[in-house]
């Protein structure tokens, strides 16, 4: 996004414009966008922007940037750096050293800190409280070892993992800290380790070296003081960026004379695109901006050496300040689950109350005879005087019983579930990352899971918000058409693929790196018809394309020594496409240095003085360059977005050309091309003088420089003569139309948010199958609040007429063929009014209602923060899951706002990726991501949660029933070791394995029938109904498992350990078979997990019973010899699972859901018929 007056000037140092600075700094989340120069996005007024930031729409805490915008750096805020005098610099202020330490712990702090961090999780605190409770002698239920073991185990494993990660960080830090840099010391540059570098020291960097700290550039090998850096480590952009030394310091070098001076700069902050400082050198006060600073982590390129002074070091460098992890989100399923956990905790309290009530009644009943009850042993007679032993009266007895019940029934709250969920998500992420279907060949990038806790959200998405450029399209600009002097030259029709234009320099052939198809007629005219009227137009047009940009040409060697390539480095793909186009027609930009450019025009090198350059900004949406031509004339070339540039064209001149150009522009944009208008004007000497003095004054102004410069630009960019227009194609990415169609079939509403103008957006909408001809389009494009409100109301009533009512919501969801489909197209200006505060409530609601009736929403001309606003609009009013996908820094706010943010690791740096939860190479990977992995992950996780509730609750109920037969004293028949191992070993692995590996349907089926995705949207796998059914089943199963053995052993000699072992084994088999019954796909891992668990349980029970000093020694072997044991086991398992089986069968057979049908079809191969019916339906949709 290019916003208001904040454009960061990184223009090549024009002689007159000797410096540039950024008066405004932006929070990082937005800042990345500021550097982009393409005519892509619409700006939003500052007021709006400020408001949004205040409301905390962007990452909080950065709003002070705005308030500081127009102020000079006040002394107390400043950081004073004495150049080449580190002692004095560090005397007053304690700046951080350059040593970086990303490791969290040291050897001493590891234990306390790591524990502290681990106990931030509520689950662990719960564990701990229970364990501590168990240490109180009066209520100790379990032995010390058994009660602490699970917590200790989890803590230990996590600590080992953390320690290993930290060790690796320390190793990396050490390597980093011990790298060497050349630092000026005692009269020469000496090698010094990075960690010893201090603020104020002068450092020399050689080509291809990495910068050790943030430095203000003083001089470089280039006499004009230009140095090129690559910021790939910082923001992932691989192009070269020019940084400039101040003219006053370029001549100085420490070798020749002592550099002195004073830099007052702002406090360290995270904004990598902003820097504000003043430099005092030789009694002159200069201002420094972001183009004067080179940052830690960048690499020096194409420059032999550069000298700078360290201003930020170590952890205060911008690179370090920006190294923060991905934001943590919580999946909706987990939020949902927490509600059920609250219900479970009520169950827990209920059980404990029941037990303590029972105990109260029992104690009351026998209160008088307690002394003589043999098994109670109330009094201690070992001493002379008998006194009560461990009995504190009726009330305390009840209280202790309650606490003991909490300890015994603790696993009712499935704490282990949180750990299992984390493991399962890691497993799921492993498979997502390794999916070959989501590997992007072109960029050699895999799918990336940056957020680990929202995997299952991918299966419930209802809204997809997509950026257009770079997300739907490739962001590879291709020059397609040009309208020059009112004549349309179309590359598509008559194209010839030649070798392209070449130039011979010093016997070497220079070629542009990218060759494009040329239009033969245009080529002929460009080369020969220079004197004709059309020829002059073409000359100026091509010269404007070649010169009116900020590209830097580099010469690249090829394998053939005689051939060199010219590579245009710049930040805007549009500019590159235009420059390559100009080169193809013989206008090749050869050289750019500060002050002049060299353009090879049809083999003849011509030098133009760049007298001034007005950067692109989002208000003007155009840029201009003032060229001093070889013939001493001064010309202004302007190129920019049609809306704003046409308005500064003098329409009285050559009316027919203007008209023709406008017509062409319209046809271009309806073809989906990105359009730019090019214009020019010759400046008379007086005009030039006037401009020059204004420009000089503005560019040296200390206050309000940006605004002044803009004013100068607006003044000079007027009364232009139109030269023509260009049409650049941004190709759709592979598979985008199909992907969008599938997403829509899956019941996902696709919203496209783009900075393009309406016509372009609509045409892209058609080509990406977002829009289809049978849709009714509602277009809202207004210039005032009132009209906007009115058209919104009209549109709403119209939509209500077309689509009867919201009660048919479910009808809408099943995108049925005959349904009238609506498409809403709304533009940025209208959105501003809608999202504006005053009207917000009512208008937003209307917009939301309208939008929810539409199956497609296209927002054009939107600014980044508006994108977030739109996402927020939907998010606030519905519980439906939203997903935002984008590739550029302008999508960051939207990505962070949505429930799931997906970054495309494409052409536009890594800002979006850094802010995203998942990143991938192509838009079409959304299909496997959502329809396949999302679907699977949701089903798996939802089932796992329900199952974990069940498996813990059934065990707790089992213990509860026994408590009723022990005079409510919480004796456990099941050994304490078994009850601790139950959720760790006996039943944990199968659910994790199933959570990672089970698949209800194959990938092919899911991709072929996107509507199967609906089960996640309808929350079919996890809802209150399932929860309560499960709880009833749990109750039933626990009753069966408990009472059948109880009645069978009534009046028998069975001892507590034997019966406990029977219950343990029975419940583990029941719980595992319950899972086995629900597994959809049995592969060897599942088999191993489930049967292995049962076997492991038996082994554990045997091992525990083989320890002679434990209570239940040899019990399992005794009871295992009796036939009663085995007959009981058989009937318990069958009787416990039969109802579930029955209900499952009935449901599957008589109320099959889509997934069930699809599974059967998959198995019995009846999908041929499905295809047929599918086909019919699509036909119906088309008609």
């Amino acid at each position: 996004m290019e916003t208001g007056d904040d454009g960061i000037e990184k223009s090549p140092g024009v002689e007159l414009n000797s410096d540039s600075s950024c008066r405004r700094r932006f929070p990082l989340t937005l800042a990345g966008a500021l550097s982009r120069n393409s005519v892509r996005e619409l700006g939003i007024p500052d007021e709006l922007e400020r408001k949004r930031v205040r409301q905390g729409w962007s990452r909080g805490g950065n709003s002070e940037f705005f308030s500081a915008s127009l102020k000079e750096i006040s002394d107390e805020d400043a950081r004073v750096v004495y150049i080449n005098d580190p002692e004095r610099t560090n005397e007053q202020f304690r700046f951080a050293g350059n040593e970086v330490c990303t490791g969290k712990y040291s050897l001493i702090t590891f234990l306390p800190r790591n524990l502290f961090e681990q106990f931030h999780r509520v689950a662990y605190v719960y564990f701990l409280v229970i364990a501590v409770l168990n240490q109180i002698p009066q209520i100790a239920v379990f032995g010390r070892g058994a009660s602490i073991l699970p917590l200790a185990f989890v803590l230990f494993v996590t600590a080992i993992k953390d320690a290993y990660e930290d060790y690796r960080r320390h190793r990396a830090d050490e390597i980093e800290n011990n790298r060497l840099a050349l630092v000026w010391n005692e009269g020469r540059f000496q090698s010094k380790r990075w960690k010893d570098i201090r603020v104020g020291e002068v450092i020399k960097i050689k080509a291809n070296e990495t910068l050790p700290c943030d430095m203000v550039l003083l001089s470089s090998s280039d006499p004009t003081g230009v140095a090129y850096v690559q910021t790939i480590n910082l923001d992932g952009e691989s192009n070269l960026k020019a940084r400039y030394a101040k003219q006053e310091t370029t001549s100085k070098s420490p070798e020749k004379e002592k550099i002195g001076g004073l830099i007052k700069c702002e406090k360290p902050n995270r904004n990598i695109y902003g820097f504000m400082a003043n430099l005092e050198v030789d009694d002159k006060k200069l201002s420094l901006g972001p183009s004067n600073i080179i940052l830690r982590g960048c690499e020096l390129k194409n420059t032999d050496w550069a000298v700078g002074v360290a201003v930020h070091t170590g952890r205060e460098t911008k690179a370090m300040l920006n190294s923060s992890g991905a934001p943590s989100k919580r999946s909706s399923l987990e939020t949902r689950m927490n509600f059920e956990i609250i219900i479970l905790s009520f169950f827990l309290i209920g059980l404990c109350m029941a037990v303590s009530t029972g105990a109260a009644v029992w104690l009351k009943h026998f209160e008088d005879s307690l002394n003589s009850i043999i098994f109670f042993g109330k009094q201690d007679y070992s001493q002379e005087k008998a006194k009560n032993y461990n009995y504190y009266g009726w009330g305390m007895g009840i209280f202790f019983t309650f606490l003991m019940a909490v300890i015994v029934f603790q696993i009712m709250i499935p704490i282990s579930l949180y750990i299992s969920m984390e493991l399962v998500r890691i497993g799921q992420a492993y498979f997502m990352v390794r999916d070959t279907d989501m590997y992007d060949e072109a960029s050699d990038s895999r799918f990336q899971c940056r957020a680990l806790n929202i995997n299952e959200d991918l299966g419930q998405i209802k809204y997809v918000f997509s950026d257009k450029t770079g997300t739907l399209t490739e962001n590879k600009m291709e020059f397609q058409r040009a309208s020059i002097g009112g004549i349309d030259y179309c590359n598509l029709k008559a194209s010839s693929q030649g070798v392209g234009y070449t130039v011979k320099v010093d016997g070497k052939v220079m070629r542009p790196k990218v060759t494009i198809k040329t239009h033969p007629e245009l080529l002929r005219l460009a080369q020969n018809g220079k004197d004709s009227v059309g020829g002059a137009y073409i000359h100026d047009f091509l010269l404007a394309l070649a010169s009116c940009n900020t590209l830097v040409p580099f010469v690249v060697d090829t394998s053939d020594p005689a051939v060199k390539l010219i590579d245009y480095q710049g930040e805007s793909p549009d500019e590159q496409a235009l420059a390559y186009a100009a080169a193809a027609y013989g206008y090749m930009l050869m050289e750019r240095s500060s002050g002049h450019i060299v353009v090879d025009i049809l083999g003849e090198k011509q030098r133009f003085n760049v007298l001034g350059l007005h950067e692109f900004d989002s208000d003007r949406k155009r840029m201009s360059v003032i060229l001093g031509c070889p013939d001493k004339s001064v010309k202004v070339y302007v190129k920019g977005a049609d809306t704003t540039t046409i308005s500064v064209i003098d329409k009285s001149l050559l009316e027919h050309v203007v008209d023709a150009t406008e017509n062409h522009l319209n046809s271009y944009s309806s073809m989906g091309l990105r359009t730019l208008v090019v214009g020019m004007r010759e400046l008379s000497p007086s005009e030039f003088e006037q401009w020059h003095s204004a420009f000089e004054a503005a560019s040296t102004a200390l206050i309000g420089r940006v605004a002044l410069l803009r004013k100068v630009a607006i003044d000079v960019e007027t009364k232009l003569r139109v030269l023509g227009a260009s049409g650049i194609e941004d190709k759709l990415q592979q598979g985008v139309p199909e992907a969008i169609e599938s997403l829509r079939m899956a019941g996902i509403k696709v919203w496209v948010l783009t900075g393009d103008k309406q016509e372009t957006a609509i045409s892209i909408g058609y080509s990406s199958k977002l829009l289809s001809s049978n849709m009714t389009q509602i277009i809202i494009s207004n210039n005032s609040k009132e009209s906007c409100r009115k058209s919104l109301e009209d549109a709403l009533s119209m939509s209500k007429n077309l689509i009867p009512d919201a009660e048919n919501e479910h009808v809408l969801r099943g995108p049925d063929a005959v349904q009238v489909q609506l498409a809403l197209i709304i533009d940025g200006t209208s959105l501003v009014y809608v999202l504006d505060n005053e009207l917000e409530e009512q208008c937003c609601l209307q917009l939301f209602q309208l939008a929810s009736k539409c199956s497609v929403v296209l927002c054009c001309r939107v600014a980044p923060l508006q994108k977030a606003g739109i996402v927020a609009l939907v998010k606030r009013r519905t519980a439906d899951m939203t997903l935002a996908i984008g590739d550029g820094a302008n999508d960051v706010s939207m990505i962070q706002m949505a429930d799931v943010g997906v970054g495309i690791s494409g052409q536009e740096g890594r800002q979006a990726v850094m802010a995203s939860d998942f990143s991938m190479g192509q838009f079409r990977f959304l299909l496997p991501l959502l329809l396949v992995h999302g679907h699977w992950n949701y089903q798996r996780m939802a089932y796992m949660i329900i199952y974990n509730f069940y498996r813990n609750a059934v065990f707790v109920f089992l213990m509860f029933w026994f408590t009723l037969f022990t005079a409510f004293t919480l004796t456990t028949a099941i050994t304490e070791w078994s009850s601790m191992l139950y959720s760790v070993i006996y039943t944990a692995f199968p659910t994790i394995i199933v959570g990672i590996l089970d698949k209800n349907l194959s990938r092919r089926t899911l991709l072929k029938y996107p509507r199967l995705y609906g089960s996640g949207q309808r929350e079919e796998s996890y809802n209150s109904r399932l929860f309560w059914i499960m709880m009833v089943d749990t109750l039933y199963q626990s009753i069966i498992v408990y009472f059948i053995p109880l009645f069978a052993y009534w009046n028998s000699t069975v001892d507590i350990s034997s019966l406990g072992d029977l219950w343990t084994i029975a419940i583990v088999i029941v719980v595992n078979l319950h899972l086995a019954m629900d597994v959809m796909r049995w592969n060897w891992v599942t088999h191993a997990g489930i049967w292995g668990s049962v076997i492991a349980t038996c082994l554990c029970v045997m091992a525990i019973d083989a320890i002679p000093f434990l209570f239940g020694y040899w019990a399992i072997f005794h009871i295992g010899k009796t036939k009663l044991f085995w007959t009981l086991l058989l009937i318990v398992v069958v009787a416990a699972l039969t109802p579930r089986f029955l209900v499952k069968v009935l449901y599957q057979y008589y109320q099959p859901n889509d997934i069930q049908i699809a599974r059967e079809a998959e198995k019995f191969g009846t999908f041929g018929q499905v295809e047929q019916s599918e086909l019919e339906m699509t036909c119906m949709m088309e008609t």
Binding site: F375, D435, R446, D816, T971, F1164
Partner: protein, 338 residues
């Protein structure tokens, strides 16, 4: 920007493309079970075929067991004693005579049990009140942790300590038939594993039942714990508040209508908590004692499954559904929209 990035060429060599394997692509060969009607009906049928015979066999086994149960706790207190608790607490051996009639021919081994009702041997305070180290190791005589309140007496450790041992059952039974004493074998009534590993051969009772309050039986301090089988049986605490413990075995046949005279020593106090005491003489079957529950349960489940199998067959024949028929898909099911 076009293909002009300066990406280091090294990436070309090491592509990040994930290696293909059936595992990583989640395509391991797998079985996909579908509950087809045939499958379901045969499963229910199979269960009923297995369960009904087992149920019948279990019921027969239970019917074959001959059991004589005699509750004696109230009848063995003289009618003139109003306070049963006081009666039982007075020192001295209290004898009581009972006569039992054998209802059917009983083949040895005939087991003699005592049954206690409402006695919570699984009470938390009771279960924990023992020390297994002390029981098996003569060197650990002083480890009495957990044995409170029966750990020390006159400041010396009790072996075996704890409430369980202290409350050892002390009613005795002697049987005679036609004035000929019936021998009750008390050998091997406890678990072999307990005698060999849990109770030490060299651990002798010390200081046992020497306190002011006597809980139950006394032990002969010259016999090691491993041979005190009544104690070993008693220390295997029962799971449920109604339980039997093996008292001994009668190794001779008992004929129908034999009259057995029992002379019992009624010493054990269950009166303070309304506990019942019963003498049980019983044979066993392959399934254990007399209990019809299991047989009935098997027959119920088996019968239910048979019923379900028949039901499903009928439903299947009357209203079949073609599996995998796409017309059942939700989006194909509602053709009537608009």
């Amino acid at each position: 920007m076009s293909s002009t990035n300066n990406a280091p060429p090294s990436t070309a060599a090491a592509s990040k493309r994930p290696k293909y394997s059936k595992f990583t692509q989640q395509e391991l060969p797998a079985c996909k079970p579908i509950l087809t009607p045939r499958w379901v009906i045969s499963a229910f049928m199979l269960i009923s075929i297995i369960f009904v015979p087992i149920g019948v066999a279990a019921l027969f086994a239970s019917r074959d067991v001959i059991e004589i149960v005699d509750r004696y706790d109230s009848v063995c207190v003289p009618a003139n004693e109003t306070d049963k608790v006081k009666y039982i607490q007075t020192p001295g051996f209290k004898t009581c005579n009972r006569t039992l009639t054998v209802p059917k021919h009983m083949k040895p081994p005939i087991f003699v049990y005592y049954q206690l009702d409402n006695f919570y041997q699984n009470h938390r305070r009771y279960v924990k009140s023992r020390n297994d180290q002390q029981l098996r190791d003569s060197k650990e005589a002083n480890s009495v942790s957990g044995c409170k309140p029966e750990d020390y007496n006159n400041n010396s450790a009790i072996v075996p300590c704890g409430l369980i041992a202290w409350s050892l059952f002390n009613d005795t039974y002697s049987f005679s038939r036609k004035n000929v004493p019936l021998n009750v074998s008390k050998k091997d009534i406890s678990w072999k594993s307990d005698r060999e590993h849990k109770f030490g051969k060299d651990v002798y009772p010390q200081n046992f039942q020497s306190g002011s309050l006597i809980g139950g039986a006394k032990l002969d301090s010259s016999i090691p714990l491993s041979e005190q089988e009544d104690l070993v049986v008693w220390m295997r605490t029962a799971a449920l508040p109604t339980f039997r413990k093996l008292y001994g075995r009668i190794e001779v046949e008992l004929q129908e209508n034999d009259v057995i005279d029992v002379t019992l020593g009624n010493n054990y106090n269950t009166y303070s908590f309304n506990g019942k005491k019963k003498l049980v003489i019983s044979t066993t079957s392959w399934l254990g004692g007399k209990n019809d529950f299991l047989g009935i349960a098997y027959l119920t489940v088996g019968g239910l499954c048979f019923f379900l199998a028949v039901m499903f067959t009928i439903i299947y024949l009357v209203k079949p559904r073609q599996l995998g028929d796409p017309s059942y898909l939700s989006w194909n099911r509602n053709p009537g929209w608009h």
